[in-house]
Symmetry: C2
Subunit: 378 residues, 2 copies
């Protein structure tokens, strides 16, 4: 083989169908996910659920939502050309319940194709519906996503989306475990990973508290995952990470994409890639699951990339502070326009710098910094 | 900075607008180009001129051509969100003269924006029209592309496309030089690079002939480039590479994309990135041009990636040979279907393995193997 970075060999050859949004500029949805998976050596076939100029947090954008029948047509095209030998499906943002149902058809069809060979197809579903108590899709999307759960292998809701899907209000660790258990049992979901758990301080358990005592008082968030046992019981792990002070769009898509590659790698290492839904034997503890190992690698990469993005953002923000005073006092409309200009520049400065950090994607730096821990009350 | 491959630092931060085709599966057009540029650290904003399931050499595909007004709308969206600070434009396949004209509007608008700062915007135009004497776009695309030439900085025609644009039939090296000269002068094109020159043996010049004498009789092709002098005279270089025995779709797009990144890097190294159209002083000889240096790096990366693709293809083809005899003699229709199946598998096996060779993209292996030479009769 020609000279290659070690990443080329690490992740097994993997054909991923990625169904999510596309933006021309910036990094969210498939624009983020495709590059992250490809950088780790995955063959990505991308179907775009929208085609926008940029993500909507800019507050101005142009473009078009893809009608469900165009998504169906592209999938038919792939089948006709026998390009539908997918090892994995990653489905993300859908602009309507109609598109969610179309994704369901695709997922079930791909699953059927892999039925004769256990482990040959794995569906990661990111049920993009909202965050922090606010739904930002049509209400009808919630039941539409529930309709997909019995066919998905792993779902990646945030805390709010986990509540919507499980109908369990997550107030503390006990109710979190209850939500995960319900998802495992009611929908026979083999794997659940809740991507951002923020619980009130009293609900935070020992390790984070100890860090707070030691003076490291930065905000934290947890990622909590579980692979069901053969009896459908949760097998939990948790990884606590520092919460960054800036909101970066696309981090959920980045997480999902890197997890596709790292999970595929971890299940091969663990020897469960030919098991149905890549489920580990019952004697494997939560923190030793391939899902936990994969998440550790993903978080290490993400931390490095987001730290670099934060540095870049701070530089832009400081530069803008200097300009600010020069432009004071020229009327209300001019001020509104300047505010919009500032908003656009800062939103852009917060675009995740994945393409400038290919090394960190391929070789997670400081691996071992984010360790999966067991969860009490399991 | 976090641990990074050296590629992260080599190519300056570059915002590229890429306008070309998109396929869900496989690697042509923007699907190829976006990844190659991103892997080298470029920020790519991609507008897709078509959205197909796969490339047309499969002989079956589904999808949709993008109407010109949707392309215009996405560009407007970028401008509104102030995401139009492009350093470079790479324009490729356009499905109609209408789309070519839309690309022209975008190119001129972006050029205007960069007018106050020499070298701040550079347009690479790949005039995708045909190959080997055959036009595969509508005839009206030829004059439409001619209409863009006076605003482009570098064009990347193959030999046939160079003939179409220059109206010079390329029969030998003399007429090739004439075609390049005409493009420099009639359209004030600063840079021309003809991506695949195949001339009859009598027209091949010394170095290739010497290799033939020494027993290395493999087929060759040449890449011939030129940056005009201040008087519009050609300054030529040539690089000869072995022709691979298999046809790989998307290699033109790969070449163009890698050249975007490597040219940006080479003009910075040469200190001409703030010169109009990145033109080198007149005392720089053809083989020493940044365009020549960039092409050397691109070809080294491509050779490694295509060799790996060829190995993969041969493996698939050999596997199919074994199956062949088992399936003989079951009627004409069954045979036709088998033939189509074989065609689809081989076409797929010839998809360029860029995502499995990120290392070779970022650190061209065996650099120095493809050296730019001067061209006699210059």
């Amino acid at each position: 083989m020609a000279a290659q970075g070690n990443g080329d060999a690490e992740v097994p050859e993997t054909h991923v169908l990625a169904v999510a949004s596309h933006v021309t500029a910036g990094y969210v949805g498939n624009t983020m996910a495709t590059f992250c998976m490809q950088a780790l050596g995955c063959e990505v076939s991308a179907i775009h659920t929208v085609n926008f100029s940029n993500h909507t947090a800019y507050k101005t954008f142009k473009g078009r939502k893809t009608p469900p029948e165009e998504i169906a047509e592209l999938y038919t095209g792939l089948k006709n050309a026998r390009l539908d030998d997918f090892d994995m499906l990653l489905s993300g943002y859908c602009p309507s319940a109609g598109v969610i149902e179309e994704v369901g058809k695709i997922g079930r069809d791909a699953k059927l194709r892999g039925n004769t060979k256990p482990g040959s197809f794995f569906w990661i579903l990111d049920p993009v519906m909202g965050d922090n108590g606010r739904i930002y899709v049509a209400e009808e999307c919630v039941p539409a996503y529930k309709g997909l759960l019995k066919d998905a292998d792993l779902i990646l809701p945030n805390q709010f989306e986990a509540e919507l899907l499980s109908d369990v209000k997550i107030r503390d660790f006990g109710s979190l475990v209850q939500a995960v258990e319900k998802l495992h049992q009611e929908y026979t979901l083999p794997h659940v990973l809740i991507t951002s758990v923020r619980l009130p301080p009293t609900a935070v358990s020992t390790p984070a508290l100890e860090e707070e005592k030691s003076g490291n008082t930065g905000a934290k968030l947890s990622i909590v995952g579980s692979t069901a046992t053969s009896e459908g019981k949760p097998r939990l792990f948790r990884i606590t990470v520092p919460a960054l002070p800036i909101f970066f769009s696309g981090t959920g898509d980045m997480f999902a994409a890197l997890l596709v590659a790292r999970l595929r790698q971890a299940v091969q290492t663990a020897g469960v890639s030919n098991k149905p839904s890549w489920q580990s034997p019952d004697d494997v503890a939560g923190p030793d699951l391939p899902l936990a190992k994969a998440t550790e690698m993903v978080l290490a990469s993400m931390h490095a990339v987001l730290k670099d993005t934060e540095r870049h953002y701070q530089g832009v923000a400081e530069g803008m502070e200097g300009e600010r005073e020069l432009n004071e006092g020229k009327g209300e409309e001019a001020e509104r326009e300047r505010e919009m200009g500032r908003h656009l520049r800062l939103t852009r400065a917060a675009e995740v710098r994945v393409v400038r950090n290919v090394g960190a994607l391929r070789s997670p730096p400081g691996l071992g910094r984010f360790r999966a821990e067991g969860v009490e009350g399991e």
